[in-house]
Symmetry: D3
Subunit: 136 residues, 6 copies
């Protein structure tokens, strides 16, 4: 299995509902380093997993939708505990949609899986990995 | 698959038996950066993998049992080559026990797997990953 | 010159006033990795710069005063653009006060300077360094 | 599953053919941090995955074959787009051969899989993972 | 003293003349992680060292002039051993010029010093620091 | 001011005397990542601070004298609290001697200062910086 990963980041405010979150129930914030990994069994005709330039650009677009924002005020996140692990899935799903729309190039339809890791600090990170439906 | 990881560290002395270890047969030591990863297919009702506060606290307890110690003198490690990879399994197994005892919260019974990585330097690390028996 | 550095982190929300800040004028947030460095010309009688345990504990206390908070709502930051560089100075000044109060131990009165670095992401960080008035 | 990873690096020049590579079609270069991971289900009789000294030495030998070189001029890479992901496979395959030749020791025949990750910068990396044919 | 640092990177090919360089006399390459630090005694009226957006943009422009290139073929580097430490000075001098031209904003004229660090691998980096002539 | 830094590591056991050290009074250990920095005002005739190959080799030799050892048993450290900051000075002084003996090459006599940083974990490090007597 081959993979490539690109890293970007977002700086957001949010709060959590639920006693388990302790002080994080207060409005606070985070820098998330976001690592988006694209996996496939075979390389494309250019000998790559995906155009790293397009991957970087499209990850940046997905993040721009909520960068420098208070997630508690964003309609797309209404009523949701925007935990690090949940955000990892959110970003992975958005990237999957980008691939299916062709935004990462024709070759990207051969991608088999996406994994997203969000680092919330030097001592804690979370991730989500999912398969893509291949064209078959 | 979702995951969260928390990082802590231990500073221990030990030695190895076996020619393969070369100079590491002498009493020496290591700082191990310990990354404990918890994985599950679905998030719990709070939208998380596990309470990150409890995960951090219980990892710290597991490590406290041998932190600032000479492993060669610890009864629990008697006769064992405490290699980095073996210690990764030791810590993973202790965390699995903690989960089964409920120390990471009720929701943690939904965790499917644990992975532990120990970084012994900037150029070498080791890991162990195991499934958890789910309640079902 | 000798130094020791300890690292901790805070997760806060805030916003900035001033066109120069662009999208960061909106309420957003950050994880700051905080590196506090203590410097002195000569080691103390224990052969150290400062008790690393106390340094870690007191840095944690300084950060706890605003960790998991929205800085815009904190009276101590009223009317202030809480830029990364300004927060570095704020933390350095608080640590200087801790030293002068004796919270870092008697030996800590020999510390000559404090430097604080705040990493707001993997691609941007800021710092502040100041001298301490020595007992003379 | 157990694993150990060792890190080394190479500094090479190369260029790419194909519009998808944009400015990277020009002769340029890269430092690749190379992480070689060895995986196995059970530890060997010394309680390790593989002799970390031999693993480090043999990875270094594999890299020495093209370190400080222009890959465009190397016969072994003639006509190949030496993308980061392709180089990860190249290195993994070379390590697999080393294992099969016995260069990583007798115990290394129990290794089940190899994964290689190449970091081309702080914001992009690529990898390849493959199984090894076990002796059985 | 206050400081802010922004990080970017370049991927270049080059070679060195002189026996001291050993195998690096061959055409090879490097990824340089470039950290540009701006220092000043007092913050500007926005409570910052410099607009981090402009600093990032101008550093990127300085690097774009030789990114994805073979430095041996660039007229601006003709006859020069483009060592990591020399490139650090080159970039610092270019940034100083940008500041003097006003490209980092009016407030940037208060910057007292620039430091540039280039990481050529995880085990080697080089830097250069210089004062700026203040307007006074 | 120009600088170059090279990184290596040691894995040692030791213990401390003095209540301030708490649990670290027990025999334990550490991996120290060792960063050795060489500084000078002007580059040498090869456009470098020092031959990075020689710097790496001589740092490795300095560390080899106590790598994989219990510092409590080493005559050279008898009666000394081998704190991270003290070890930084020890290594810096050994490197200064190497330079004065010519082990880092003739050009190295132009080095003005040495700084050594020892990382004992991802959350704590210590350093020492000293001037070199220049030839005059």
């Amino acid at each position: 299995m081959f993979s490539i990963t690109v890293r970007d980041h977002v700086m957001i405010a949010h709060s959590f509902r639920g006693e388990v979150f302790g002080p994080a129930q207060r409005l606070h914030g985070a820098t998330f380093l976001v690592d988006a990994t694209f996996k496939r069994l075979e390389l494309d005709s250019d000998n790559i997993v995906v155009d790293i330039g397009l991957a970087t650009q499209e990850l940046n677009k997905v993040l721009a939708a909520f960068n420098y924002r208070n997630l508690d005020e964003e309609p797309q996140f209404a009523g949701i505990n925007t935990s690090t692990e949940w955000l990892a899935k959110h970003i992975a799903d958005q990237l999957a949609e980008k691939i299916s729309e062709g935004a990462l190039g024709e070759g990207a339809h051969g991608i088999d899986a996406i994994a997203v890791t969000l680092h919330e600090s030097h001592v804690a990170w979370a991730g989500y990995e999912r398969a893509l439906r291949t064209a078959g």
